[in-house]
């Protein structure tokens, strides 16, 4: 167990930069989640930490040890694969003992440690089974036990739950998190499941196109997204394109004037609003900004309704309103009042 630091890590394949200047510091015992759209370089980053891909530039330090030039077998990183990667010709116990065997732990000393690892993942008594005799969830837990038994400095998880069904995913998610806390393991997990990321992480890293867009807690990412990408990626946002006309004043492309505390500077910008900050109907009347909006499209999603509205010919935005009893569901073509406070919303300079 140790802290892990990744500095200015870069990976290029020919002209293609897949990981671009990634710097992350992970505290001892912290659970960090790497989150981002498909192809953004999460797996590549993780595999560079594990030692399977040589970085084009940058440094990786585990504890006090620089491991950048070390082969995977000298890094002491426990790795759990999406596809489990158990040794099919070994029993569960032999799988779990493998790391200890490689560390020259005597056979007698291995027994209690294997038993302990299997007990941690609630698979005591499965010692003599072969991987093919286990369910997917059990195999995943064996993979976890195998990584834990070697007492790694860092635990690396690459979408460990994506092959499990929804219910099992919930269970194993909780198990992994509990174990990680109990053992105080420094952990990086890769996922593109947002809910998984939000429920498990101490801190999250949002990546896009090989770059780190933001590092922070769930609350920081949701309430203070660093840029438009993060605002759209973590949770949902309604976006309005336009420009800042004066401090505190924002005008949409369609000419709608909005008072917005976050509007500073000048020039083309995008206003991002969280759906729950937007009031609809009577509540909207008393707010600083309120507008008549035309309902273009409404989707029924159970607990919430997704409503696509236009403020003017040019300004479309997506609302989410709770599906409350007694409130009529807006129909396409209707006009409703929407509004939000002056301090709601964040403004980002528009990217070219």
């Amino acid at each position: 167990m140790a802290r892990l630091s990744i500095e200015h890590l870069r990976k290029t394949y020919g002209d293609l930069t897949v990981v671009d200047d990634v710097t992350i510091d992970i505290a001892d015992g912290e659970f960090l989640v790497l989150l981002g759209p498909s192809g953004c370089g999460k797996t590549t980053t993780l595999r560079m930490v594990a030692g399977f891909i040589a970085p084009s530039a940058g440094a990786i330090t585990i504890g006090e040890r620089s491991v950048t030039a070390l082969p995977p077998w000298k890094r002491n990183c426990g790795l759990v694969f999406q596809s489990y990667a158990l040794f099919p010709h070994m029993t569960v116990a032999e799988n779990v003992a493998f790391g200890l065997e490689m560390r020259k732990v005597s056979p007698a000393d291995r027994i209690p440690r294997v038993a302990e690892a299997l007990r941690l993942v609630q698979l005591a008594g499965f010692d003599e089974r072969y991987p093919r005799q286990l369910s997917g969830g059990q195999q995943q837990r064996v993979a976890l036990a195998r990584a834990l038994a070697m007492e790694p400095d860092v635990l690396l998880l690459d979408e460990p739950l994506s092959n499990l069904d929804a219910k099992l995913r919930q269970e194993v998610r909780v198990e992994i998190r509990d174990l990680q806390r109990k053992l105080g393991l420094t952990t990086i997990m890769v996922t593109h499941d947002q809910e998984e990321a939000l429920t498990m992480a101490d801190r999250l890293v949002v990546m896009e196109k090989g770059k780190v867009r933001q590092i922070g807690s769930q609350r920081e990412l949701y309430e203070k997204p660093a840029d438009r990408f993060v605002a759209g990626f973590i949770g949902r946002s309604a976006f309005l394109d336009g420009e800042i006309t004066a401090p505190g004043r924002f005008r949409t492309r369609g000419g709608v004037e909005i008072g917005c505390a976050a509007a500073t500077g000048t020039g083309a910008a995008t206003l991002a609003l969280r759906p729950e900050r937007i009031a609809v109907g009577g509540e909207a009347q008393g707010l600083h900004n309120h507008f008549q909006a035309r309902v273009e499209h409404a989707s029924y999603l159970g607990a919430i309704l997704d409503i696509d509205v236009s403020l003017s010919g040019h300004d479309r935005m997506l609302l989410q309103i709770p599906n409350k009893a007694g409130v009529a569901e807006p129909k396409p073509g209707e006009t409703i009042t929407i509004g939000w406070a002056e301090d709601a919303g964040l403004v980002y300079p528009r990217e070219a």
């Binding site: 399977f52 010709h89 493998f98 065997e101």
Partner: protein, 290 residues
């Protein structure tokens, strides 16, 4: 597979499967077992020069083989050559098969064709090529002597070494292709898991790659061993008249000596030796790695 699958469906399926193996079974029975049975019967007949084959029920042909040092020597030489060739094919073939199985190169298919390419050339043509290359006045000796590295031409043709090289060259592609297909079936992830758990390349090979590739190793070694035991053209063409192996010996008895009973007996001894050695190796390996 559903546990509620109704019985009749499964029954019909095995029935169909049974039907499908009939052609192969018939072919093996008529094309292979028949001649072997006839050969075995012949091997119990007597041979009287001038009279060709006399019906009988005697083991004298087998006795003749096992009491004559010359024939035992040929058998021993055949086994030795086959074992050396098989081990050499395994040692050289495994790394090649591994690289072929794991390469990400766009030229993978070309590489595989390159491995098989030697088989496009028939045994006789290949041997003729080697004669021009390795003969006492061949290209190799001429250039070595020209450079003054040797005074006497190297004796390569018509030695055991020439036969070994020849058989290895023919058998290597079979070994490589067999191993390659098995290694391709081993997920790369499993190797990486071993590395991440602290296994260096040697330990990974010993504990993970080798045991998982074992079915392919067995298949490849059996294939090359059988091919080497029964080699005919290569020993004749590269070994010369004095280098005898079992394959040419059988042919000689049938075609030159007209001694069918003794030829049959030698065939049977060759077949039995091949089967016994193969099964024995199989059992030993399985016991060690299970």
């Amino acid at each position: 597979m559903s546990t509620t699958a109704p019985e009749p469906v499964a029954g019909a399926r095995t029935g169909l499967a049974g039907l499908l193996v009939v052609p192969a079974t018939l072919f093996v029975a008529i094309g292979l077992l028949g001649p072997i049975a006839i050969l075995f019967r012949y091997s119990l007949n007597q041979f009287i020069p001038g009279q060709f084959m006399v019906d009988g029920l005697t083991i004298e042909n087998y006795v003749k083989f096992f009491t004559d040092g010359y024939y035992l020597n040929v058998l021993a030489r055949t086994v030795r050559v086959a074992v050396v060739c098989t081990v050499a094919c395994l040692i050289m073939g495994f790394p090649l098969a591994y690289v072929l199985a794991r390469t990400q190169s766009r030229f993978k298919n070309l590489l595989i064709i390159a491995v098989v390419l030697p088989l496009f050339v028939g045994n006789a043509v290949r041997a003729a090529g080697w004669m021009t290359a390795f003969g006492s006045r061949g290209a190799l000796n001429a250039s070595l002597m020209g450079m003054g590295l040797i005074d006497q031409p190297l004796e390569i043709m018509f030695t055991e070494n020439a036969v070994l090289i020849g058989i290895i060259a023919v058998n290597l592609p079979f070994m490589v292709l067999t191993l390659q297909s098995v290694i391709e079936g081993i997920p790369r992830n499993v190797e990486e898991a071993a590395f991440s758990l602290g296994a260096g390349p040697a330990a990974m090979f010993r504990r993970v790659l080798w045991p998982l590739a074992l079915p392919g190793i067995l298949a490849g070694t059996i294939l090359t061993f059988i091919l080497a035991m029964n080699a005919y053209a290569t020993p004749v063409l590269l070994g010369g008249p004095r280098f005898q192996m079992m394959g040419p010996l059988v042919y000689g008895q049938f075609a030159q000596q007209n001694n069918w009973p003794f030829g049959g007996a030698i065939s049977f001894i060759l077949m039995t030796a091949t089967i016994i050695l193969t099964v024995a190796a199989h059992l030993i390996v399985q016991r060690r790695y299970r």
